[in-house]
């Protein structure tokens, strides 16, 4: 399907409104010709995508953030999970133009200067990674949980990860990894 802007009064109104909607900053420019400004992992990125493209596709195929996987494209598998304004969402169910002005975080945005972050390391240490396809989505869903609940029990963790499907490890090790990471973060916080 080809989607483009009709050269009509209506489209001009729409563009004006898009500019208005940029949180009052007016700095995001006109998204109608394909360049959509996104705040990704702390950086402002220009994304040459049709406005109705799935955000998952734009992040992966245009911005080369390959941690974002498109699995089911219907919100069932969770492999495309990112944090949008701090909350886990299925990026396959967000149109790229809807993400303008929001803070987008992918696994790449969690990484320290070198190596892995502690949550990723916990996944490795607990054997929670097998084929790895679901892992970025699991990590982002877990990160979303730990940001609002630093002391989750097993039920909390399973509930938070219910939107992510793993077909390899059987979930036990994933739940354990999140629990281990939560405990480590609490210890670190207590030591401050």
């Amino acid at each position: 399907m080809v989607i483009f802007w009709a050269n009509t009064e209506l489209a001009r109104n729409a563009r004006a409104s898009l500019r208005l909607s940029a949180g009052g900053t007016g700095s995001d420019g006109d998204v109608g010709e394909g360049a959509i400004s996104l705040n990704v992992n702390g950086d402002s990125r220009e994304c040459a995508a049709p406005p109705t493209m799935r955000l998952s596709a734009a992040l992966r195929d245009i911005l080369n953030l390959t941690s974002v996987k498109e699995g089911c494209c219907e919100g069932e598998c969770g492999a495309c999970t990112i944090l949008l304004d701090g909350k886990p969402v299925n990026s396959c169910l967000v149109m790229v133009f809807q993400a303008r002005g929001s803070e987008i975080i992918t696994v790449e945005g969690l990484l320290p200067e070198t190596g892995l972050n502690s949550l990723q390391q916990a996944f490795l240490d607990e054997g929670a990674v097998q084929c790895g396809y679901c892992t970025p989505g699991m990590v982002m869903a877990a990160e979303g949980l730990l940001r609002i609940n630093p002391n989750p029990d097993e039920v909390d963790i399973r509930h938070a990860l219910a939107g992510n499907i793993c077909r390899c490890t059987g979930f036990e090790t994933i739940v354990r990894a999140v629990s281990v990471e939560a405990a480590a973060r609490r210890e670190m916080e207590a030591g401050r």
Binding site: M1, I3, F4, W5, A6, T8, E9, L10, A11, N13, A14, S17, L18, L20, S21, G24, G32, P51, T52, R54, C72, C73, E74, G75, E76, G78, T81, L84, K87, P88, V89, N90, C92, L93, V94, M95, F97, Q98, R100, G101, A141, G144, L145, R158, H159, A160, A162, G163, N164
Partner: protein, 289 residues
């Protein structure tokens, strides 16, 4: 020429101005959790309006007589709102059981109504409460309709959901049955709103989802409880009437056989929830005997 334009108006007044000049079909988008499903074609002409970032369109007001919920309020907001949970727990419970964390963070109450899935989790609760919808019609005029009379149409925007004070009974609960605990589409759901004082039911409203194309009130089952004491005989009549309701709703469907059995479990779960009793209380054992 075929074209789809997208627009993200910052507020309702801008939206109204846009719609006034819109000659092409208008499509509304909020959370996108039903619009962007793989295999479902997007509209390829007209104007696609994003409602998810509009000022004031995601808000819950529980302080007044009526509860008023703006249409772009997300499902997670419904699940987490303390005032709503205190005053009308059935809606919070239905929201908390809707989809996954990721879905609840994007899906909206207006989208759940407009998408009109037979298994939509919020709809039985809204129906039982006698919800009214404040609509912005394609011509720009305002309209208020009962939720059961709402018909989705291009350009018809749900702006607010009104839960009238008279419809919010003191006790309420929601239960659903699916193939698993989380991220599951309801195979059967029930919402119960009731007055229950000193072991006797007063007014009762009961609605079911996923037994037919629309959620439906269950008048036989309501009558089985209204004005009666909470005791085994009442519950036996209640369970019998629930089976009648299933037979009336989906006679001849393949699911009828299991749903006429399954509804008994959901019905007793509801009674346990609103009465604060343990589901394994002997009262329920006696009712099933």
């Amino acid at each position: 020429m075929s074209a789809l334009s997208v627009v993200a108006p910052p507020d309702l007044s801008t939206l109204r101005s846009l719609l006034a000049g819109a000659a092409t079909p208008v499509h509304f988008l909020a959370g996108g959790t039903d619009l962007l499903i793989a295999g479902c074609p997007l509209p390829d002409t007209g104007l696609l309006v994003d409602l998810s970032r509009m000022d004031g369109m995601a808000h819950i007001a529980t302080e007044g007589a009526d509860i008023r919920i703006r249409a772009a309020t997300t499902v997670v907001m419904l699940a987490d709102h303390c005032g709503l949970r205190a005053r009308f727990p059935a809606l919070s419970e239905a929201a908390a059981q809707c989809g996954s964390v990721q879905i609840r963070n994007r899906a909206t109450i207006g989208g759940n109504i407009a998408n009109a899935s037979p298994g939509a989790d919020l709809l039985p609760v809204l129906l039982a409460a006698g919800a009214r919808l404040c609509l912005l019609e394609p011509g720009g005029e305002w309209n208020v309709v009962a939720i059961l009379d709402f018909a989705p149409a291009p350009g018809r925007l749900i702006v607010e959901v009104i839960l009238p004070n008279a419809g919010i009974l003191p006790r309420s609960a929601f239960v659903k049955l699916g193939v698993r605990q989380d991220l599951t589409i309801s195979r059967l759901s029930l919402a119960l709103l009731a007055e229950l004082q000193d072991g006797r039911f007063g007014v009762v409203r009961l609605a079911a989802g996923a037994i037919g194309p629309k959620p439906r009130r269950l008048p036989h089952a309501e009558s089985a409880l209204e004005g009666r004491r909470l005791e085994p005989g009442t519950l036996r009549d209640f369970l019998s009437s629930l089976v009648v309701e299933v037979d009336n709703a989906i006679a001849g469907r393949a699911s009828q056989l299991y749903k006429r059995r399954a509804i008994a479990g959901l019905g007793l779960d509801l009674i346990a929830r609103i009465s604060g009793m343990n589901p394994r209380h002997e009262l329920f054992e006696e009712a099933l005997a």
